[in-house]
Symmetry: C2
């Protein structure tokens, strides 16, 4: 079927199919959400205004047999940062949309005050259904209510009470193959944007999963099959991630002296072992949970897991490194069950675990509760659901929490909280945090690969030299991976195995009929970043926003006693791309 | 005595006298605070960091016999806006500092955590005294404690609990000739900056008031005397302001359809009469209060007042139009006693009445309490002093309140709340709100003069044409008035009486020995604005920040059913000054 866009006007409560524009042909996922934001959203509009748009887009390879192609990108002008935002998640929705030929769902306007809707998408029909009965319901309960009405084979995109309250740490949940709303497009407050539209959920009613059209199906499937082998051969994506999930990083990053502890006061946490991936895997095994769990059909890395409580009942799925860090070491908490319980609460409320943990750490810095107080932290998370003033502060993220409590040691860039790698001892990550158009975001240019895991070379994480180049290359490559809708963990093979890029290009070309080479691949990544920068510049961002908070340059981080010393002048060179890019790239919509 | 700067290092707990730099010769008040901020404060530093500086500076004509020359400018990088900030107030402090030859007090660093200090300034001695006993005390009680220790002839600059809590709506109080801490440098959160330094108060121990040195005293005093006559002759500064205070504007602005009511939903308030200047003057008379009260020695306009409660006891002094509006019509409240009581509470807590009223109106918009609920509003203000989460939200200002409660109809520019003139029906004010480097600030370029009061010509307030020119000219002139340390209300004579500018120049030249002409006057104003813009640009501001919130362009304001329709392109021309200004003016420190 012909590629199409579903336009949803919440003001008029109407939907409309639109032919997919030729100029967007090679765009998907983040490339497409950012392009539509840049083309259609007034840069200075209030993020909660009807003029902002919520865009849900599978990647260019979504709905194909390419392994790891199930990421769904959700974009808009960020209620948290005020800039362009794309946040992606696993789950089943990307493949379902792509299988229906839907390249993007674009939600515009806003529903009449006090009204809440569910958008139902079938192959040949769409409906906006009043769903006031779901108002205030947590993601788990609301998803259950949706299953009661539809089939569990439906894919669901849903917000919790945090999104309905328009809290700027609110994320958007996506159901996984088990039907659990545990996959999260958590970052940037996009849940608040969906809430402002009056949209509680999007339900995609189809059984189709791998039904996207191909230019040359046979050629594509051969390349996809070979790519599976490449991923399985790589030691990180083939062994470490399936065994310990992302949380295997706790011990690695702690050993490197880069595990931010008690709001960035230390690079090592004395309780690291108790929250490590090894410990987690052991508990999962003892309690009958599951490691090696796929977050979407066709995932061969399977870094996800199902973490059970002491009684053997499912507590949360998955439990991830960034979450464990944010709600654990960042807050001085070493109780993995407490962390997993907070993770479940955050999922239910629909708030980003990273931003929430960041905010709790800042509240601890302010003396609202002591570092290490797991029970107090749990109560704080519960306050968010209640919508109390304190809960709303935490649910608004770390920057607001710092402002309200008069704290200046707040680890945010563009108002978004830094993640589980201290920028002083993994300086490449510091560069990414500072410069990504998305605000502080580890996934935007994950230098841990080169700085710590020694995949794709090695650059000393403790010295400033070379970090900008690493971050630049990774940010460009990541933008393309996000465009394709692939899981970021394919990057490990990409960095180490020479046939990896060739197979990606083969998949792109046999999917679309294009004749892309490596140069096109790089050009696309650069143009996506420039598109995002162009929007951000018009929204009011400048080089002054591409900076880490002062204290990272002033306070030495134990145990290596290092500060962040990549200079502003060096940071300013990040977007000096090595290949010539058209000056009007930011304005250009055509990326072929 | 030679002009000097007092440097106060709160980290080292040391003070140091510094000769006043020749390059700053013609700078005082806002011109000097903004210049020092631009020269010495790292633009991207956190406003609460030790690198930020709090600067207290009398105007160039401070401590002279010039009428209305008692304004004190307080500056720094704003904790509220993140940009350069100057907020000025009346009271006795400017004349005392200037009489000691002190052109600026510059407070740097930060005191050890948990320690609180009072800075004592005598003519030949300074001390930093531990003042932990004043911690948490309101401005009234703390000032009383200071009077117990010193003489009431001392001048006091002080913060309340809001500043100690580093709340971004916290202001700085200055004592008036009666010894009451009722004069306020309220805007931009500078109280939080003073709190972050660990400084509770500055006490200037001198009886001197008009002892600043002159180049030619006789010539100066002759000009000053003639200027008094000019002010007395002007109908606004000679009659309206002494009789009704600034609050005489309630009926005028309401009649013009520009009194923002219930968070900018209407331009007329049905309860306007009950909170009007006429009603206020009547109550003051009945209760034995006072109108025609001077805020500083040498004031001949005397727009201040003393407002008594029903029992005839002093409730607050002064009660001003902007405050009455923010805590009254903006919140749908028509109870003048309730408004005056909230004003007293705000003064005691040390928060800006405009920002606090703005935040309460936003909380009403969010449904936290209904519009018109005076008792509820009083309780909200009390929450600030208690430091509860809700109180801290309100005390952080309207932008944060809007974010936390998920409200997008928030009338802020650069995070600072708009004041008592709806930008849709006084469009010149809209231009000033949008473009002032200070954030939304009526005093920065008070077009009400031309749009409503028909002083200095007339431009229809309801149409876009000509508004940028008015605002530009007024912003330039205001910057100079703020540099001189004069009360903004001299502008009425300035606009109407031709000899006014000549007398100002005569005072400047006989005070300093300069030979300034009108062109120098204008050039100084332009350079001050450029200095501020240059700092803001480096701090991360761009044209995207020179915009009003969306809803002013979208929602028609009754009764005139107008939107704000000055275009972004027109707003961008505001700083195209008519005379040639050196391109490096922002960098240049010399303004002679």
């Amino acid at each position: 079927m012909a590629a199409r866009i579903l336009r949803v006007n919440m003001t008029k409560l109407q939907t409309e199919w639109q032919n997919f524009p030729e100029k967007y042909k090679m765009l998907g996922g983040r490339g497409l959400t950012s392009r539509i934001v840049a083309d259609e959203v007034p840069p200075t509009c209030h993020p909660l205004s009807p003029a902002n748009k919520l865009i849900v887009a599978p990647g260019l390879l979504g709905g194909t047999t390419a392994p790891q192609s199930g990421r769904i990108s959700i974009g808009g002008k960020s209620p948290l940062t005020g800039g362009v935002k794309e946040s992606n998640a696993g789950g089943v929705i990307a493949q379902k949309l792509a299988s229906l030929g839907i390249r993007a769902v674009v939600v515009e306007g806003e529903a009449p005050a006090g009204e809440l809707y569910v958008l139902e998408i079938e192959e040949n029909d769409t409906r906006l259904r009043r769903a006031d009965d779901l108002a205030g319901k947590g993601c788990y309960e609301a998803t259950d209510a949706i299953w009661d009405r539809y089939d569990t084979k439906a894919g669901v995109v849903i917000i919790g009470p945090a999104g309905e309250m328009r809290l700027t740490a609110a994320g958007i949940s996506v159901t996984d193959p088990n039907g659990s709303p545990g996959r999260f497009a958590g970052r940037g407050g996009l849940g608040a944007l969906m809430g402002a539209k009056g949209l509680k959920a999007i339900v995609v009613l189809t059984d189709k999963t791998f039904a996207a059209p191909y230019h040359d199906e046979k050629r594509f499937k051969a390349a996809a099959k070979r790519f599976v082998e490449v991923l399985r051969k790589n030691p990180v994506s083939g062994q470490t991630l399936p065994a310990f999930g992302t949380n295997g990083l706790v011990n690695v990053i702690n050993e490197a002296g880069a595990l931010p502890t008690r709001n960035f006061r230390d690079g090592r946490f004395e309780g690291a072992e108790k929250v490590s991936g090894e410990r987690m895997a052991q508990l999962i095994k003892e309690r009958g949970g599951k490691t090696g769990h796929p977050c979407h059909p066709g995932c061969v890395i399977k870094c996800s897991n199902i973490y059970n409580d002491k009684n053997g009942d499912v507590l949360v799925s998955p439990l991830e490194y960034e979450t464990v860090w944010a709600l654990g070491p960042h807050c001085g908490i070493d109780d993995l069950d407490a962390i997993a319980f907070m993770n479940r609460l955050c999922n239910d409320i629909g708030v980003d675990t990273i931003e929430t943990g960041g905010a709790i750490g800042v509240a601890m810095e302010a003396g609202v509760l002591p570092f290490g107080d797991a029970q107090g932290a749990i109560e704080l998370v519960k306050e968010i659901k209640k919508g109390t003033p304190l809960g709303r502060i935490i649910g608004s993220g770390a920057a607001v929490t710092g402002q309200v409590f008069g704290v200046r040691r707040v680890g945010v860039v563009k108002k978004q909280h830094i993640t589980a790698y201290d920028p002083r001892s993994v300086k490449g990550m510091g560069v990414t945090y500072a410069t990504s158009p998305m605000g502080a975001d580890h996934t935007a240019g994950y230098s841990v690969t080169v700085n710590i895991l020694r995949q794709g070379g090695y650059v000393d994480p403790l010295t400033a030299a070379g970090q900008v180049d690493i971050s630049r290359n990774l940010q460009v490559a990541t933008a393309v991976i996000d465009n394709l809708g692939l899981c970021i963990f394919i990057a490990f093979s990409f960095l180490e195995q020479e046939d990896s890029l060739g197979l990606l290009l083969e998949m792109i070309n046999s999917k679309t009929g294009s004749r892309w080479t490596e140069a096109d691949f790089t050009r696309l990544g650069e143009e996506i970043l420039q598109t995002e920068r162009y929007f951000n510049r018009r929204a009011g961002f400048s080089e002054a926003h591409d900076r880490l908070p002062d204290f990272f340059a002033e306070e030495k981080l134990p145990p290596h006693d290092v500060v962040f010393d990549v200079t502003p002048a060096e940071l300013n060179t990040l977007f000096n791309f090595r290949q010539e890019v058209r000056k009007d790239a930011g304005k250009a919509a055509s990326l072929r």
